[in-house]
C-alpha cells in the first residue's frame, strides 16, 4: 500500500515537473513556428470606441479605418531580425505617410525607426530611447502599441501552465507569462495569459494585465488560413477594456515567401514615390 502511494506521489511529482518544463517548451514551439520569410500584405485597421447596448458592445461612433500596405522580410541566421515598411493608403489626407522599421533579436539592441511625412517631404529617424520605461507609442493610432507589434523575445518571460480548456472548439493550453525584471521595468504589462492551440502551436487569444495588475487588453487571433503552407490569422482584434476601444486588424491581402528586394526596405521607398509605386504594383501582382 505504501509502495502504491509512493509510486503515485512520484508520478504526480514527475508530471508536475514535466508540466513546468513544457510551459517554456510550448512557447518555444510557438515562437519557432514558421511565419514566412517575407510577407507582402494590405492591412486594414478599424478602431472605435464602444459602449454597451442591450448587453452587447457596439461602436459608439463611426469607426475610423486606416488602410496600409505592409511589407516585411526576415533576416539573420534564425530569421529573427525583421525589416518592414508600412505605407498609408487611407485616409486620403495621410496617404503616402510611411514607416520603416528594423527589429533586432539581440537583447538590448533597440529598434530602428524612420518616418516619412508627405507634407514635410523629409524622412525623420524616430528615437524613443528610454530603456527602463514602457513605450507609449501606438501603431497608427490604433489600440495596438509598439510593444504589441514587436517581435517577441522568449527569454523575456517566465512561463507557467495554468491549465487547459477549449477555446472556440480548439484544445488549448492556458499559459501565464510573467516578464522577468529587465522586461517588467519597460513593459506596459505586468502579466499575460495566452491560449495556445495544442495542435497547431498557435496563440488564439491573449489577455494582458496592465502595470496596476488590472485586465487591460484582450487580443484575439482568428480567421486562420493556410497560406503557402503557413498558418496565418487574418484577423487580429484587440479590445482595450480600460479605454473601451477596439481595433480590428485584417489582412485584406497577404502573400508569403514571395521575393522582396532588400532595397525596398530602405529610406528610398519612402521618398521616391515612383520607385515605391512601381515596385509595389509588381509585388501586389503576386498577391492573392
Amino acid at each position: 500500500m505504501k509502495k502504491i502511494i509512493y509510486i503515485m506521489a512520484l508520478l504526480i511529482l514527475s508530471a508536475a515537473i514535466s508540466y513546468g518544463q513544457s510551459a517554456k517548451g510550448i512557447m518555444r514551439r510557438v515562437d519557432n513556428r514558421d511565419d514566412g520569410k517575407t510577407a507582402i500584405s494590405r492591412i486594414s485597421l478599424t478602431t472605435y470606441r464602444y459602449i454597451k447596448k442591450d448587453g452587447k458592445n457596439v461602436p459608439a461612433e463611426k469607426p475610423r479605418v486606416k488602410i496600409m500596405d505592409y511589407i516585411k522580410k526576415d533576416y539573420g541566421p534564425k530569421e529573427k531580425d525583421h525589416k518592414s515598411i508600412s505605407i498609408i493608403l487611407e485616409p486620403k489626407r495621410d496617404r503616402g505617410i510611411s514607416f520603416l522599421q528594423y527589429d533586432y533579436e539581440e537583447v538590448g539592441k533597440d529598434t530602428d525607426q524612420w518616418m516619412y511625412l508627405t507634407a514635410l517631404g523629409k524622412v525623420k529617424r524616430l528615437v524613443a530611447g528610454n530603456d527602463s520605461e514602457p513605450k507609449t507609442g501606438s501603431f497608427f493610432g490604433s489600440e495596438f502599441n509598439y510593444e504589441d507589434m514587436e517581435s517577441y523575445n522568449i527569454d523575456d518571460y517566465t512561463y507557467k501552465i495554468l491549465g487547459d480548456e477549449q477555446y472556440k472548439n480548439n484544445d488549448c493550453w492556458v499559459i501565464e507569462a510573467t516578464p522577468v525584471l529587465r522586461k517588467a521595468i519597460k513593459s506596459n504589462y505586468s502579466r499575460e495569459m495566452m491560449w495556445v492551440d495544442k495542435k497547431r502551436d498557435l496563440i488564439l487569444k491573449i489577455v494582458l494585465f496592465n502595470r496596476n495588475g488590472k485586465k487591460f487588453k484582450k487580443i484575439y487571433y482568428s480567421n486562420i488560413e493556410v497560406i503557402e503552407g503557413i498558418l496565418v490569422p487574418r484577423k487580429i482584434v484587440v479590445n482595450n477594456i480600460i479605454a473601451k476601444r477596439r481595433t480590428i486588424m485584417v489582412y485584406e491581402k497577404i502573400s508569403l515567401n514571395r521575393p522582396v528586394e532588400d532595397s525596398y526596405l530602405t529610406q528610398r521607398t519612402m521618398t521616391d514615390k515612383g520607385f515605391r509605386e512601381r515596385k509595389l504594383k509588381e509585388y501586389q501582382n503576386t498577391i492573392m
Binding site: K52, N57, V58, E61, V127, D131, Q166, N212
Partner: protein, 849 residues
C-alpha cells in the same frame, strides 16, 4: 385648533401617570432602540467630494459627467516637493525624486499578480523624470523622458537639464517652479473614473472560459453617431470612500521615507488628499468640540440648577438623542459632509433645550411649593405642549431645507428634523420617568438668584412699561444691521475654509504661491463634426482663447493645456526644434500629419485632449485658488469672450458648443444655487413657521408678531457678518435656518405661557411679566447653554464651522434679548389679547365642532 392645543395640554398632563404604569416596558423599548441604533452609528461615511455636493440629477453636474466620460476621470493628486538644498536639480534632489518616482511606478515588481496595492489606484505619473521631451537634431526626432535614467552627473549637465525644463513652454509651474526650488508630480488616479452602463445588467456569457470569466459579446454592425446622446445613460461607478485614505496613507508613508525626506519636503494636494483629510478630521474635530460642549453643558447645568439629577438627566437625554441621530444616519448609508457637525449640534441644541425646559419648569413649580406629582403634571401641561410645538415647527422648518438643490444642505434638513423629533420623543417619554426615579429638590439656598436672573427680574417690566421706546430701539438697530446685511458677500472657497497652520492649508498655500495653483477648470469644446479639430482656423481660435485666459487679470490662470500645445511642440520638433516653428501649422495637410505624429507617439495623451474623431476637445486650466464669486464672474467673462470670438467658427460649424466646466466652475455654479436657495429656504421656513403659529394661536396678530423677534437675530447676525466682511458660504448660510429653528422655540415658549396667563388673568401686562418669570428663566438657561456650546466651534479646523458657531451663538443671544424685550413690548403695544376673532379657516373648523 384652540381645542387641539387644549387637548394636547390634557394629553401631556396625564402622560406621566400613563408612563408610570408601563414604566418597564417604556424603558425596555427605549433601551432596545438605543442599542440597535447606537450600533449603526459607526457606519457613518464622510464624503467631501464634489459629487457629494450635487444631487444625482443635477443638470450642471450631468454636463460635467458627460465631459468626463469623453475625456476620462480627473481626480489627481498633485505632489509638490521642495528641495531642501534649494535646488531641485541638485544631485541629492534628482536622486530622491527618481527613487520616489520608481517606487510609485514599479511598485508591482515585488508583488504577486493577485496582491492588492494602494498604488493600483495611480494610473499615470507625470514628473520631471518621465515627461516626454521632444527634441530634434539632424533629422532625428527624439522623444525621450526628460531625465529618465540619465541623472545629470556634473554641473554642466545639471544646468542643461534645468534650461531644458525651464524653457519648455508647458513645464514651468506645473512640474517645476520658476526658481527651481519646487517641483511637481501629477498622479492621476482611477477614482470615480470607471464608467458604468445603466443597461449592463444583462450580461450574456459568451464563450467564457475558466480562466477568463468576463468574455463579452461584440456587435460591429450598427453604430451610433457622434451627435446623439449616447452618453446620457452613462454614469460613474462611485469609488468606495475607504479607498481614499488607503491610497493617501500609503503615499504619505512613501513621502515620509527618510531617504527622500533628507532631500525633499513633500506636499500633496488634490481631491483624494482632501477626502482623506475630511474623513479623519471631521470626526476628530467633532469629538474634540463635542467633548468640550458636553463639559460646558454639565458645568452650566450645575451652575444653574445646583443639583446632580438636574445635570445627569438632561445630559443623558442629550446623549441618547445623539445615539439615535447618529444611528439613523449610519443606518441610512447616506454620506456625510462637514455639515455632519452642524446636524449633530442642532440635535444636541434641541435636546438640551427640551430637557432644560422641562427641568426648569419642574423646579419652578417645586419652588412654588407644589409636590413632585403636581409639579410634574403642571410642567408637562405647559412646557410639554410648548416642546411639542417648538419641535414640530423646528422639524418642519428644517425639513423645508430638503428642497434645496445642494445635497449636503438637503441632507442636513432631513436628518436634523428627524433628530429634533427624536429629541422631543425622548424628552417627553423619559424625562418624567427619570424625575420619578431621582428628582432635584429645590434648595432654600437657591433663593439667591443668579446675576442673569436678577438682571431679567430688574428688566422684566421694560417691555411692558415702555413698549414704544423698546420698539423704536429695536427698529433703529434693525435698520443699522440691515445696512450691514447689504454688504454681505456670498462666497465659498474650499481652501480658505482651512485655518492657517494646518498642514493641508500649508500645502495648498505652497501650490498656490509657487506652482500652478490648486484651482482647476475645463473648457469643453464640441464642434459636432468629424475632424473639426484638424482645421487650422479652429486651432488658431483656441490658441487665442488660451492667450486670453492667461492674460486674465483678477483670476490668475497659470497654465492652459490643449491640443494646441502639443501641436506646436510637435511641429517645432518636426522642424529640427527651431523656435520659429513653435506654432500651429497653417497648412491643413501639415497639421493633419503633425497630429498623426502625435497620435503615433502618444495615443493615450491624445485621447485625453481630443476625441478619436477630432470633433471634441478640451482646454484644461490651472488657476490660483479662487472663491466662487471670482469663478462665477470668470465664467461669465469667458463665456462672453467665446460668444463674440467664436461666432465665425459657429457659422462654419453650426451647433458647436463651448462651455466652461470643471471643479471650480461647478462650485461657482453651486454658489448661484446658494444665493437663490438661501433666500428660498429662508423664506420657506419663515412661511411654514408663520402658518404653524397662526394655527397654534388661532390668532393672526399673535402669529404675525411672533415672526418679528425671529427675523431680528438673523438681521443682526448677517449684519455683523456684513460689517466684518465675513462671507456667507456653505456653512454660515445654515445659520439662518438653524437660528429660525431655535429662536422660534423661545417665542413659542413665551407665547404659550402668555396665552395661558391671559386665559387666567385677562391682563396683558400681568401676563407678560408672569410669562417672562416662568418661561424666561428656561429661555435664558437654554440660550446661555447653547450660545456657549455653539461658540466652542471656534476651535474647529474649519473656518466655515468656526464662523457658524460664533455667529450662531450671537444669534441665539440676540434671539433671547428680542424675546425678552421686543416680544413683550410688541404684545403690549399691539394688545395681543387672544380675544379677537379666530383666523377664518380656524373659525370654520371651530364651528364644525
Amino acid at each position: 385648533m384652540g381645542k387641539f392645543v387644549k387637548g394636547l395640554n390634557g394629553f401631556f398632563e396625564s402622560l406621566p401617570g400613563k408612563l408610570r404604569k408601563r414604566k418597564w416596558m417604556v424603558l425596555a423599548i427605549f433601551i432596545a432602540i438605543t442599542v440597535v441604533l447606537g450600533a449603526e452609528a459607526s457606519k457613518i461615511i464622510m464624503d467631501n467630494s464634489l459629487d457629494s455636493f450635487f444631487k444625482k440629477d443635477d443638470p450642471v453636474k450631468k454636463e460635467y459627467d458627460k465631459f468626463r466620460t469623453v475625456f476620462g476621470g480627473d481626480e489627481y493628486i498633485y505632489v509638490v516637493y521642495k528641495a531642501k538644498d534649494g535646488d531641485i536639480f541638485s544631485d541629492n534632489s534628482v536622486k530622491a525624486l527618481k527613487g520616489f518616482y520608481d517606487e510609485i511606478t514599479n511598485y508591482r515588481l515585488n508583488l504577486k499578480p493577485t496582491d492588492k496595492s494602494p498604488f493600483d489606484h495611480i494610473v499615470e505619473v507625470k514628473s520631471l523624470i518621465n515627461l516626454k521631451f521632444l527634441e530634434a537634431s539632424k533629422d532625428t526626432l527624439y522623444s525621450r523622458s526628460l531625465i529618465g535614467d540619465n541623472i545629470p552627473e556634473n554641473e554642466v549637465e545639471r544646468e542643461a537639464l534645468r534650461n531644458k525644463a525651464l524653457n519648455h513652454p508647458d513645464y514651468p509651474y506645473l512640474y517645476l517652479s520658476k526658481d527651481s526650488k519646487y517641483g511637481g508630480i501629477l498622479l492621476r488616479t482611477d477614482f470615480n473614473s470607471e464608467v458604468v452602463y445603466e443597461d449592463s445588467k444583462t450580461e450574456p456569457k459568451n464563450q467564457s472560459g475558466l480562466f477568463d470569466e468576463d468574455e463579452e459579446e461584440f456587435s460591429e454592425g450598427l453604430y451610433y453617431s457622434t451627435t446623439n446622446n449616447l452618453t446620457d445613460h452613462l454614469t460613474f461607478k462611485e469609488t468606495e470612500i475607504a479607498e481614499y485614505p488607503y491610497l493617501v496613507s500609503a503615499l504619505r508613508k512613501l513621502m515620509q521615507k527618510e531617504e527622500y525626506t533628507d532631500a525633499l519636503e513633500f506636499h500633496a494636494v488634490g481631491t483624494p488628499v482632501m477626502m482623506d483629510f475630511f474623513g479623519d478630521a471631521v470626526m476628530k474635530d467633532l469629538g474634540k468640540i463635542m467633548g468640550l460642549v458636553l463639559l460646558i453643558i454639565i458645568v452650566m447645568l450645575w451652575f444653574l440648577f445646583r443639583s446632580f439629577s438636574a445635570v445627569v438627566w438632561p445630559v443623558s437625554i442629550v446623549v441618547i438623542t445623539l445615539l439615535w441621530a447618529t444611528g439613523i444616519i449610519g443606518w441610512s448609508g447616506i454620506h456625510m459632509s462637514i455639515m455632519f457637525q452642524i446636524i449633530i449640534f442642532m440635535i444636541l441644541a434641541v435636546g438640551v433645550a427640551d430637557s432644560v425646559h422641562i427641568m426648569s419648569g419642574y423646579l419652578f413649580f417645586r419652588n412654588q411649593g407644589y409636590n413632585h406629582d403636581k409639579a410634574l403634571k403642571s410642567v408637562m401641561r405647559k412646557s410639554g405642549v410648548a416642546c411639542f410645538l417648538t419641535s414640530t415647527t423646528t422639524a418642519i422648518g428644517l425639513m423645508s431645507l430638503s428642497l434645496v438643490p445642494i445635497k449636503p444642505i438637503a441632507v442636513f434638513g432631513i436628518f436634523s428634523s428627524l433628530g429634533v423629533f427624536a429629541a422631543f420623543i425622548i424628552t417627553v417619554f423619559l424625562m418624567p420617568l427619570m424625575l420619578d426615579l431621582w428628582n432635584p429638590i429645590p434648595k432654600k439656598t437657591n433663593k439667591k438668584k443668579l446675576l442673569i436672573q436678577r438682571l431679567i427680574r430688574k428688566t422684566e417690566n421694560t417691555g411692558s412699561q415702555k413698549p414704544r421706546t423698546v420698539i423704536i430701539v429695536f427698529t433703529v438697530l434693525g435698520i443699522f444691521f440691515f445696512a450691514g446685511l447689504m454688504n454681505l458677500r456670498i462666497d465659498s472657497n474650499d481652501i480658505e475654509v482651512f485655518k492657517e497652520g494646518l498642514p493641508i492649508k500649508h500645502s495648498y498655500n505652497i501650490v498656490n504661491e509657487h506652482m500652478a495653483g490648486s484651482g482647476n477648470m475645463e473648457i469643453s469644446i464640441n464642434f459636432k463634426k468629424e475632424n473639426a479639430l484638424k482645421d487650422p482656423t479652429v486651432l488658431n481660435e483656441m490658441e487665442k482663447l488660451q492667450d486670453y485666459l492667461l492674460s486674465f487679470e483678477w483670476l490668475e490662470v497659470v497654465k492652459t493645456a490643449s491640443l494646441v500645445n502639443v501641436v506646436k511642440d510637435s511641429y517645432k520638433a518636426l522642424n529640427n526644434s527651431d523656435e520659429k516653428f513653435y506654432a500651429i501649422p497653417q497648412d491643413p495637410e501639415m497639421l493633419s500629419q503633425t497630429l498623426f505624429l502625435f497620435e503615433n507617439a502618444n495615443n493615450e495623451d491624445r485621447k485625453r485632449l481630443v476625441t478619436d474623431d477630432y470633433s471634441r476637445a478640451r482646454i484644461g486650466l490651472n488657476t490660483i485658488n479662487a472663491g466662487s464669486i471670482q469663478a462665477l464672474a470668470f465664467q461669465e467673462n469667458v463665456q462672453t469672450y467665446i460668444d463674440i470670438n467664436f461666432s465665425g467658427l459657429k457659422e462654419k460649424y453650426p451647433g458647436c458648443e463651448i462651455i466652461l466646466t470643471g471643479n471650480n466652475a461647478l462650485i461657482a455654479i453651486m454658489l448661484d444655487y446658494i444665493s437663490w436657495s438661501q433666500i428660498k429656504s429662508f423664506g420657506l421656513s419663515l412661511l411654514v413657521i408663520s402658518v404653524i403659529l397662526f394655527l397654534v394661536f388661532s390668532n393672526f396678530k399673535a402669529g404675525a408678531i411672533a415672526i418679528i423677534p425671529n427675523v431680528f437675530p438673523i438681521l443682526t447676525t448677517f449684519g455683523i457678518m456684513g460689517f466684518l466682511d465675513i462671507p456667507l458660504d456653505m456653512d454660515t448660510l445654515l445659520i439662518a435656518p438653524v437660528i429660525i429653528g431655535l429662536a422660534v422655540d423661545d417665542t413659542i415658549h413665551f407665547l404659550t405661557h402668555y396665552k395661558l396667563e391671559m386665559e387666567k388673568y385677562a391682563d396683558i401686562k400681568k401676563a407678560v411679566v408672569n410669562s417672562i418669570r416662568e418661561a424666561g428663566q428656561a429661555i435664558c438657561f437654554t440660550s446661555i447653554i447653547l450660545a456657549s456650546g455653539f461658540s466652542m466651534f471656534f476651535l474647529s479646523f474649519h473656518n466655515g464651522l468656526s464662523h457658524f458657531g460664533i455667529f450662531s451663538a450671537i444669534a441665539i443671544l440676540t434671539a433671547f434679548i428680542a424675546d425678552i424685550y421686543l416680544l413683550p413690548a410688541l404684545c403690549v403695544f399691539f394688545e395681543v389679547d387672544f380675544n379677537e376673532a379666530p383666523v377664518k379657516s380656524d373659525h370654520a373648523i371651530a364651528t364644525n365642532y
